[in-house]
Symmetry: C2
Subunit: 410 residues, 2 copies
């Protein structure tokens, strides 16, 4: 009986992104040690060459490659040792033709040198003299200035979620502080007379509140902060009060209720009242997750999202909608999946974009097999067994066994 | 000149796992909300059927499927409405032949009912009577008792790193507390006269300390706790003092120094002194990462790991050794990678297991292409550009373009 238009996912996200400018996350400076998993708010350029100078990558003698050309096991090149470079200090001297200098791994090459002959290929023949038993090309056993990163090079983009190695990279560039986006503060409301917490008895028609904990996990995994949560009975005033608290404490208020029409109506009425925009998305043409509604309250700068009640649908839609808004607001590139081959024929619902849980397994060769994990969207265990999901276009009636698919990993 | 035997990686890990029983992580109870990313210390079985009772997954009328068999748009089945089940309550009545009851999504089915006809296919014909215009098979629009999880079923294994959906699953099972392993406490030491912090000037032969921050990231990403860190000069006594502090504060002390022989000797001497086991692994036949040494101090219950100086090698070996010990001690299954096709011929070093950084890209079909990210192991940017790594057997001289590979994602 719902005469209101249902949006495509892209349409819903586009509307949300336009209306939710008020929750654009501010930029803050964070110490490098606190930056794992944070999202960069600005492109990072190398402001200097890394390494800043040519360094030895092996213990040995810095030489002019021309001087050891043709040297070998039976025909050494004889060189004069001009000096030794100490770790962490400037070489402070140059080498000329027929000269060399000892360099430990990591030390600066003296001017004039363009290669390193490893220590094990050299022999001291007399004080201040060595024989080098190996020919080296220019650049051999050397990290050239700028070989890791070149001055001016764009090395990490705005929107990058920082990985461990990125912290190393930022340290290499001398960035003790980094501009990152302040994470969304998320307030989680689960509605339902029947809901019991995990610590409560669930009997006589009651069921346990799965969504609160799944959503806490999803929000935390995305790097967001949980600024509060409430489990409320199916009473419009109680839900409205919980939403008011959420508006004060959070950027994003998610309400997951049962999927019965009565409850959807209550959630819609509360969001209609609480959001200055009213409800602007009255359903999304996705499966699972159709009964998803969206509003934005500008005075309090809050997104109000009514998520479906079924756990798999609620968690998927959190990822698609709240995650999608975050990716849009922080300038992230679209997610890339893993290519795979579908193991079975898979029907879909035309007119709705289908998100199908899958497990990945190897076929023994170069191909990953995506095996659908089937089950109703109320079945949380399907999601724990899955490695990710595939997306089926709304114009397809299904996918065929053996078709190529893209798997988005959890 | 190193006459000491170099271990294979598997050998090094096996020795470490035997000797490091003293750092076996203890089990602790954690509240469900704090469990994301924690590692389960016990198998989780469903102690009840989930759902505990048959539930409607659509708003509609609970029926006996036999009563609507053959019903359709032009031939409705006429049924008496016996009652309505309220959400979160026991049905409290049964339906007999020719009877039905209204059920909102999520409500318990009354005894006798085995299917739900969606509301939109039903019409009220007179008080207490409906016409159902659709035939439904038994189980249709119903989540059967135990359909999500069956009582007694093993649903999550010890060693599982908990994902968002797992928190939902545990909530569904009524687990407000979960047995998880206490994370390793990791103490990070970087050695080198030449090292500058990211906040310091790096000039005149000095370079920035990359490993401390990369390792902080790696440890945090693995769920470990950083219990301290020190950057020390190349003085044996200073390193020994730092290791002593680490032994008091941590389960795992990692020392990454330069890769020069002099510095490796100092690290080896300090670990030899500080570890009751002495150094039992004097190098590992991997590339990068050969100069990795291991010891265990039983009195203080600490693993002492001398990691390579080159950043990529240090981070890889942290993952392989410290991560590998964690996986062994917490009963994790071996990591699974993503299958892919290698884009180029790739030489390797026979006698050493090679860990090669790769990027993944789609070929437009079902195959992922693994493109090696080449560069010396001092080049941290190679690791930021990579999506993961592949492993080349020590007996291979390389891999061929087009070969199937397994990519372990970062």
């Amino acid at each position: 009986m719902n005469l209101l238009k249902v949006d495509d996912l892209a349409e819903a996200l586009a509307k949300l992104t336009v209306r939710a400018a008020c929750v654009q996350p501010p930029v803050e400076e964070a110490g490098l040690e606190q930056c794992l998993g944070r999202t960069l708010a600005a492109d990072i350029y190398a402001e200097e060459n890394i390494p800043a100078f040519a360094r030895a990558v092996m213990d040995g003698y810095a030489v002019r490659a021309a001087d050891v050309q043709g040297a070998g096991e039976s025909i050494p090149a004889f060189l004069s040792v001009t000096g030794e470079v100490r770790m962490g200090e400037e070489a402070g001297f140059a080498i000329g033709a027929g000269e060399c200098a000892y360099v430990p791994t990591g030390a600066m090459l003296p001017e004039g040198a363009d290669a390193v002959v490893m220590e094990e290929y050299c022999e001291k023949t007399s004080p201040g003299k060595i024989a080098a038993y190996k020919s080296e090309a220019p650049g051999s056993n050397v990290a050239a200035a700028g070989e890791d990163m070149k001055k001016g090079e764009l090395v990490l983009r705005r929107g990058r979620r920082l990985k461990p190695q990125d912290l190393g990279l930022l340290a290499a560039l001398g960035r003790a502080q980094v501009s990152v986006y302040r994470p969304y503060r998320v307030f989680i409301i689960s509605t339902g007379d029947e809901l019991a917490g995990p610590e409560e008895e669930a009997s006589g028609g009651r069921i346990r509140d799965v969504n609160t904990y799944g959503l806490i996990g999803k929000a935390a995994a995305a790097g967001f902060v949980i600024s509060g949560r409430q489990r409320v009975k199916d009473v419009e005033e109680l839900l409205a009060q919980a939403v008011e608290e959420g508006k004060q404490k959070a950027d994003i208020v998610v309400i997951s209720g049962g999927s019965s029409k009565g409850r959807r109506d209550v959630t819609a009425a509360v969001i209609e009242q609480a959001a200055s925009s009213g409800v602007f998305t009255h359903g999304i043409a996705v499966k699972p997750g159709k009964p998803t509604i969206l509003g934005v309250d500008e005075p309090s700068a809050t997104v109000l999202a009514g998520l479906p009640g079924h756990p798999v649908a609620a968690l998927m839609l959190f990822e698609l909608i709240v995650g999608g808004l975050w990716r849009a607001q922080t300038g992230q590139e679209p997610r890339r999946g893993i290519r795979a081959r579908l193991s079975i024929n898979l029907p879909a619902t035309p007119g709705r974009q289908t998100f199908q849980l899958v497990k990945l397994r190897a076929d023994g060769g170069e191909v990953n097999i995506a095996e659908p994990v089937l089950g109703k969207s109320g079945m949380i265990y399907t999601m724990s067994r899955a490695d990710g999901y595939i997306v089926i276009d709304k114009n397809r009636e299904g996918l065929k066994q053996g078709e190529a698919v893209e798997v988005f990993l959890f």
